[in-house]
């Protein structure tokens, strides 16, 4: 019986190749998009789920009335002995970035030292490897001993070129030069790289215990690992014993910490590690990556695109179903009940779905790397099937198939045989309203997507062309050295390098600074105020940037009033005679204008101490130190001739490659052991928009998909309309109608639907895109000529594509021989 049904369903599908094809392609497209989006959603929703102890593993986070912090102090962690229910306290210290060097210890010295700058590294204790899930490829973790380390497979390969033979790496030593004293670490274990969906990152884990030795600490007394050190520089986690209540434990810790330090007023929380990425709901007060938003958006779009595809299926099937009405009527006259008829239709739907599914899985397979490059991620289908959300997704897909299949089956089998037998079944109003509504929905979605894409592209364009208040062209940024061995003869070699670079013929200007535009500041500071200031002013926050006297002219910033500082304005240490403000600082400090500010004093700390009272020597015009996402912040520039975090070089355009080689050679010579990294300043700045560009790409892809699906549906419906009006068209042609007028006749009906869709799409897209644009402090204005233009052009694009689709189909009908279509009836 089933094989019989299958055979007949297959024949029925095969006989209507055209509709079947449209249906399969439409569904497959929708499913492809669905799978991609579900990969994305599952990836983010499933963050840290791979941790075997995820249910018992928490990050310690504190909140104060002012905000939250995810750092803890050694003093805080020392309370361990006073609370029960803790199995392990994995602890990290992430301010570890620096230069890592491997010097092969063969006597001949034939092989070169291997040196890289490492950002993704941390100090940690051995509990980390007890609590978190790591897969050891060789050795094990022994981080409670000083001078040991665990590295990932990729780090092992990078430094030791060990291939798959990780055992070889055990016992090898790496020299780490960062803000602490340069220290050697022996590799005791190699672990598999952390999965992409881990909030915990890192390629090297140095033993935190090493820093317990004051010699290794260097002059960083803040990082002393002693129980009375209250400075919060550690990231702490807790692995709870089975059955321990996280909330009561958190309360206990808070009470203890208030006893130890009543002034701090910190409430401690245990944050489940699975919520560190997504956040626990949308307004989680604890620090998190807020990825839930993306999960929700992706799932919504996924369901939307999938429904578009099912709408298509319903549309096409009920439209063309009329031609099946005869068959159904006949079957009823020979004894079929509705039940008999529904089964084969569901079977057809199932076969279509399976075909579409196979096609979709194939396309996902083929397009995965392209999609990943659009997104800058490493996604694969595995994610969809790995976590709960994927299962719901698949459920939704099945439900869609069952619902739309059943709807179609019910509509089609509802035909009364009498209609058929009367012979007047060629046209029926049945479901026409529904079909029209569905077409409107499809086009509304498409138009909204197109408008969204245009707005995103415009915003990206706006950002890349906005006058930043500085000139980033032909500006090269070289990372300053980490390993600096002061030479008593020539002084700081980093400054020597700067002087040498200045002499190069292709370098016009050089500036040294501790941070750079497009990246960040030195730090934020509170308590800076005018001598006459109110005590509340101390709560205002300022960004601090230390730079040398060439910073402003190298970046070609303009002064509103006054001028930049001199070398001599730095009085040594953290003491300054004069400083530069930007306009935002002038306003925040309460000066009426820049000219009002120049010559005045501000203070930080004790003004009677030398160098804590600063004269304002100039006000630089506001410029975009960060991306246009952020409003321009108040910045205070402190003179620091010895700032060597980054060197910014204004260079000539010619021979960039050769010049780069010259720079590298010079760098290697003067600053041996430091890796040479040079980037263009505008690349650094544009990198801030990486995510925005990705979203733009995604939108473009999905709007294309949406419009293609909508057009597939429209194409089919026009074919149907043309078919059922064949006779009318024949008569009109005999009466002298032109092809064009017939195309117009068939098009207007559908274009009307597109027009209605436009009216629905505009306010929706307007609202959604306004929300998106709010993420940018500086953005294009939708309530403007541009906005009107975007929406009108989206409408026109959709209408044009719709018209081409319709016309292609209508033309065929219009050009058919009129007499033939009449005889056909």
């Amino acid at each position: 019986m089933l094989t019989n049904h299958l055979k007949i369903a297959f024949r029925a599908l095969w006989r209507r190749k055209f509709t079947t094809g449209l249906n399969v392609i439409g569904l497959a497209l929708g499913m492809t998009a669905f799978f991609f989006l579900m990969e994305f959603a599952s990836f983010h929703a499933g963050f840290d789920s791979f941790q075997a102890n995820a249910d018992r593993l928490f990050r310690i986070v504190g909140t104060t009335p002012e905000g939250s912090q995810d750092n803890v102090s050694p003093m805080m962690l020392a309370m361990r002995s006073q609370v029960h229910g803790i199995e392990a306290i994995p602890t990290f210290m992430t301010s570890a970035s620096g230069i890592v060097t491997y010097k092969p210890d063969n006597a001949s010295g034939a092989s070169q030292a291997v040196t890289f700058k490492e950002e993704d590294v941390a100090y940690s204790n051995n509990d980390v490897f007890k609590a978190f899930t790591f897969q050891f490829l060789a050795g094990n973790a022994d981080l409670d001993k000083p001078n040991t380390m665990v590295i990932t497979a990729s780090a092992a390969q990078k430094y030791f070129a060990c291939g798959e033979n990780y055992q070889r790496v055990i016992g090898k030593r790496l020299l780490v030069a960062n803000q602490f004293a340069p220290t050697e670490y022996a590799v005791t274990g190699v672990v598999r790289n952390l999965p992409e969906n881990s909030h915990l990152r890192g390629t090297m884990f140095f033993s935190l215990q090493t820093l317990a030795n004051p010699t290794n600490l260097g002059d960083n007394s803040w990082a002393r690992l002693v129980p009375d050190n209250g400075s919060a520089f550690l990231t702490g986690y807790l692995l709870l014993r089975d059955g321990t209540q996280a909330s009561s434990l958190a309360k206990q810790i808070s009470e203890l910490s208030k006893k130890v330090d009543p002034s701090a007023n910190i409430t401690w929380h245990l944050q489940p590690i699975r919520t560190i990425h997504t956040g626990n709901g949308f307004s989680d007060p604890l620090p998190n990556a807020a990825a839930l938003k993306y999960v929700v958006i992706a799932v919504s779009i996924a369901l939307f695109v999938l429904s578009l595809a099912w709408i298509n299926y319903i549309n096409l099937s009920t439209a063309f179903g009329l031609s099946r009405a005869r068959e159904i009527g006949v079957r009823k006259t020979i004894g079929a009940t509705r039940g008999h008829l529904v089964v084969p239709h569901l079977l057809e739907c199932a076969m279509l779905s399976v075909a579409a599914l196979l096609l979709a899985l194939t396309s996902v397979e083929l397009l995965q790397s392209y999609f990943n490059s659009l997104l800058g991620a490493e996604l694969h289908l595995g994610y969809v099937f790995q976590y709960g959300i994927g299962a719901y997704g698949i459920g939704a897909m099945l439900l869609g198939a069952i619902l739309s299949g059943s709807y179609v089956a019910l509509v089609l089998t509802g035909v009364k045989p009498i209609i058929v037998l009367r012979g007047n079944f060629t046209r029926s109003a049945n479901g026409r309203f529904v079909r029209k509504t569905l077409v409107i929905v499809q086009f509304a979605v498409s138009i909204a997507f197109i408008a969204g894409t245009l707005i995103i592209l415009r915003q990206l364009d706006f950002m890349s062309h906005r006058d930043l208040g500085m000139n980033l062209e032909q500006l090269l940024v070289i990372d300053g050295p980490q390993i600096v061995e002061n030479n008593s003869l020539s002084g700081n070699p980093a400054l020597v390098f700067k002087q040498e670079v200045e002499r190069l013929p292709f370098v016009k200007q050089v500036s040294g600074s501790q941070n750079i535009p497009g990246q960040g500041y030195n730090f934020s500071a509170q308590g800076i105020m005018r001598p006459s200031g109110h005590s509340d002013d101390a709560k205002q926050s300022y960004k601090i940037l230390q730079a040398d006297e060439n910073y402003f002219n190298t970046y070609q910033m303009t002064f509103d009033q006054g001028k930049g500082f001199q070398k001599s304005d730095n009085l040594g240490g953290f003491k300054f005679r004069s400083v530069v403000l930007n306009e935002a600082s002038v306003t925040q400090l309460g000066f009426k204008s820049s000219s009002d500010a120049v010559g005045q004093f501000i203070q930080w700390g004790n003004p009677s101490e030398k160098g804590q009272r600063w004269q304002i020597c100039g006000v630089v015009k506001n410029y975009h130190h960060k991306s246009l996402h952020d409003a321009i912040e108040p910045i205070i520039f402190l003179p620091s001739a010895a700032a060597t975090g980054y060197f910014s070089l204004r260079v000539t355009i010619e021979n960039v490659q050769a010049n780069m080689a010259v720079l590298e050679a010079l760098y290697k010579k003067i600053l041996p052991g430091n890796p040479f990294t040079a980037r263009f300043a505008d690349d650094i700045f544009q990198k801030q928009y990486e995510n925005d560009v990705r979203i733009g790409n995604l939108f473009a892809v999905f709007s294309i998909m949406a419009i293609v699906i909508a057009c597939l549906g429209l194409f089919g419906l026009t074919a149907f309309a043309a078919e059922s009006r064949r006779k009318e068209i024949g008569v009109r042609k005999v009466l002298g109608a032109t092809d064009a007028s017939i195309i117009a006749l068939l098009s207007t009906e559908f274009l009307k639907l597109v027009a209605i869709a436009f009216v629905i799409a505009c306010p929706t897209a307007f609202w959604l895109m306004s929300v998106w644009l709010e993420d940018f402090a500086y953005h294009v204005e939708l309530r403007s000529g541009f906005g009107v233009l975007v929406f009108i052009s989206s409408g026109i694009i959709a209408a044009l594509i719709a018209f081409i689709t319709i016309a292609a189909q209508a033309r065929k009908t219009a050009q058919a021989n009129a007499i033939e279509s009449l005889r056909y009836e």
């Binding site: 019986m1 007949i8 006949v330 006259t333 004894g335």
Partner: protein, 220 residues
């Protein structure tokens, strides 16, 4: 077997009722061969559809095998229809994507007849109708007469008590028409009641009784 009492059918368009059948009282006995005649639009097909339970009367009573069909739900009617009635159409109405064999077999599927039994029943009919050679062809590969033979074979396969035929020879030439009429006569002799609508006097002759309709009225 079929008993109509004061049966009427109208279509309402707004407040206006258009009568298609008026006050029909009619008796058809088991084993009869009845021909319904009348001008176009006189209500012949409508009457046939009501008797065949594909359509409902607006007023009056209809008893089929003494069961009050006019009181039945659609579901009950279609049960009755399925068990006792075969239909033959002027335009054959075969199912395009099924072969001759499958077309004839379909009613048996709906009646849940077992596979082996189905096989022998279909083989038997194919044999009787002399279309064994055509069994794997699709309808569009057959001539009109052959298609109508299949249509009749499909109608009789489930051994109905009565066959309703609406202008079964309307699309056929006279030789083909004659063949169909002879087949009906044979089936009638074997016990099947036959009610046909026809425009042809000579076809009507095959039946034992002629019923005439004019503007929905029964002429006697």
């Amino acid at each position: 077997m079929i008993s109509l009492r004061n049966l009427s059918k109208y279509y309402s368009a707004g407040a206006l009722k258009t009568y298609v059948l008026r006050n029909i009282t009619l008796e058809i006995n088991e084993g009869e061969f009845v021909s319904i005649m009348g001008p176009s639009g006189s209500g012949k097909s409508t009457l046939l559809h009501i008797m065949g339970m594909l359509d409902e009367a607006s007023e009056g009573e209809y008893l089929f095998l003494d069961k009050p069909v006019h009181k039945f739900s659609e579901k009950q009617r279609s049960e009755l229809h399925k068990d006792h009635i075969g239909f033959v159409f002027q335009s054959y109405h075969l199912i395009d994507e099924l072969t001759v064999y499958e077309n004839i077999e379909t009613p048996l599927l709906y009646q849940s007849v077992k596979k082996d039994e189905r096989k022998s029943m279909v083989a038997d009919i194919l044999d009787r109708f002399n279309i064994v050679a055509k069994k794997d062809l699709f309808p569009h590969q057959l001539s009109g007469g052959q298609q109508q033979l299949v249509g009749i074979a499909r109608a009789v396969i489930s051994r109905p008590k009565v066959i309703f035929a609406d202008e079964p020879t309307g699309n056929l030439n006279s030789a083909q028409g004659k063949e169909i009429m002879e087949l009906f006569t044979l089936l009638n002799k074997q016990g099947t009641t036959i009610v046909q609508v026809t425009h042809s006097e000579s076809n009507a002759e095959y039946g034992g009784r002629i019923i005439s309709l004019l503007d929905g009225w029964l002429q006697s």
